[in-house]
């Protein structure tokens, strides 16, 4: 069959390049996700802060980034850092446009966007904590940091797993947008294949199936993690 030969791992097949591109997709998505987790943690912490300035900053961050298209943010990061690099380059006598590294800017862009969503997840998880348990910690004389480390964090982490899983799926799908700034991940590789063989449907369909596969497998992973975390709760009781 034509399709199978096209996607094969033989000399004229696209199997290897698609597989490698899938690896790039996973890598850039994981990086973006981790950047987002850090930003989300910081944002959530800021939103519970005593200082009004920090609370408003966190609020503005999550509102802005959840209201603006991801694609626009990716453009900003790519062209913004490129023009910065270009102007720095001009100082040293380089000429014309110098592109920023697509992997780095792409991962940062989706990281900043997903951070806004993860912040909401973390906030929700902290708010879902039973008030009584925190009070009990206080009643036994736990100082704030100890209380956070021993009581709040372990429980909030459990509550956050489903929401974090959703954000991961979001990041994975968002990573396809990085293809517009030239990173050869799965989507871009499919585009290249579609262009050179004139079989766009076969390539985009394959890309879709691969995305679905990653989403399915990682979704299973999050489910498992959730089950283990919840079993922990019951055991503790």
């Amino acid at each position: 069959m034509d399709y199978l030969r096209l996607m094969s791992f033989g000399p004229d097949g696209w199997g290897y390049s698609l597989l490698a591109a899938t690896g790039v997709t996973v890598a850039v998505a994981v990086c973006g996700f981790l950047v987002g987790a850090m930003l989300g943690c910081l944002g959530a912490a800021a939103s519970f802060s005593r200082f009004r300035a920090l609370r408003s900053a966190a609020d503005i961050y999550t509102t802005l980034l959840r209201g603006i298209p991801d694609l626009l943010v990716i453009y900003l990061f790519y062209f913004g850092s490129s023009s910065l690099i270009s102007s720095v380059g001009a100082l040293f006598g380089a000429e014309g446009f110098v592109g920023a590294p697509a992997f780095l800017t792409g991962a940062l862009a989706i990281g900043v966007v997903s951070g806004a969503y993860q912040m909401q997840v973390f906030r929700g998880a902290v708010l879902a904590l039973p008030k009584g348990e925190i009070e009990a910690g206080r009643a036994y004389g736990m100082p704030p940091l100890l209380l956070f480390r021993r009581i709040v964090l372990p429980q909030a982490a459990r509550f956050a797993i489903p929401g974090v899983g959703n954000v991961w799926q979001l990041v994975l799908k968002e990573s396809a947008l990085i293809s517009v700034i030239g990173l050869v991940e799965l989507m871009r590789q499919a585009q290249i294949g579609a262009g050179s063989t004139r079989q766009p449907f076969s390539f985009y369909l394959t890309a879709g199936v691969l995305y679905l596969l990653i989403a399915f497998v990682s979704g299973r992973g999050f489910k498992l993690a959730e089950q283990r975390a919840m079993r922990g709760i019951r055991r503790a009781v």
Partner: protein, 235 residues
């Protein structure tokens, strides 16, 4: 990099021209997707596996793949089939506009179907039973009791979905459409001034989404007077 006010104003005016297309894509796909979503939600709760399983599969596929893949499959992918190229559908499928609407509608249908299903399942069984005991059934029961109760549960989730759709229309720029993001990309590549263009385009999207959120908050407020205190209601 100093902020160039005249350029900022110029970009802003240029970007404003993209608003009608962004809104059109949103409204058309939300309406078409909403109808499809209702059909999918009913298939999911029909209790018949041969309706439930296909709907589940549809939702799994469209929620599990990037919207960009869906847009490319429809816009670029379908041309691989000569049968389609010679069919009566081709005048539509050749147009980036209709392909974008189609992809966005298919996409939002998958997400909305779950929101609608959740709303329908949240209707208290006792209130449905009371309606049956009064002799209501079928469309009357759905229109007068089930739908008004389900709507209250659905609105917050649906409001989020529509904001996501406004943002998703940005992807139409990847298949040549000049909506807000399309114009922004063009301006950036002409001027190399991403920050100013981003600020303008971002502000427009935020304004649209703010209005959508307000509209839904107002809708939620008007359809659920029972959650308010009597004094507030009279005011």
């Amino acid at each position: 990099m100093p902020f160039d006010l005249p350029f900022l104003a110029e970009s802003f005016v240029a970007l404003l021209k993209g608003i009608p297309l962004t809104l059109q894509l949103t409204v058309l796909s939300v309406v078409a997707g909403g109808i499809l979503a209702f059909a999918l939600a009913f298939m999911r709760i029909s209790g018949k596996w041969w309706l439930d399983v296909p709907a589940q599969f549809y939702i799994f596929v469209f929620r599990g793949t990037p919207l960009l893949v869906q847009i490319y499959i429809i816009y670029y992918g379908l041309s691989q089939f000569p049968v389609l190229r010679h069919s009566f559908l081709w005048p539509f499928l050749r147009e980036a506009y209709w392909c974008a609407v189609l992809a966005l509608a298919f996409n939002t249908a998958a997400y909305s179907a779950e929101i609608i299903r959740g709303g329908l399942l949240s209707v208290p069984a006792g209130q449905v039973e009371a309606a049956r005991a009064c002799g209501m059934s079928g469309l009357l029961l759905f229109r007068r009791i089930v739908m008004p109760l389900a709507l209250r549960q659905m609105l917050p989730g649906y409001s989020n979905e529509i904001i996501l759709m406004v943002k998703s229309t940005a992807l139409a720029s990847t298949i040549t459409l000049l909506e807000i993001t399309g114009i922004a990309a063009k301006l950036i590549s002409e001027s190399y001034r991403p920050v100013e263009v981003f600020v303008c385009a971002g502000a427009i999207y935020l304004a649209i989404n703010f209005l959508v959120a307000r509209l839904f908050a107002w809708l939620e407020y008007t359809v659920s007077p029972e959650t308010r205190k009597p004094e507030e209601r009279r005011a």
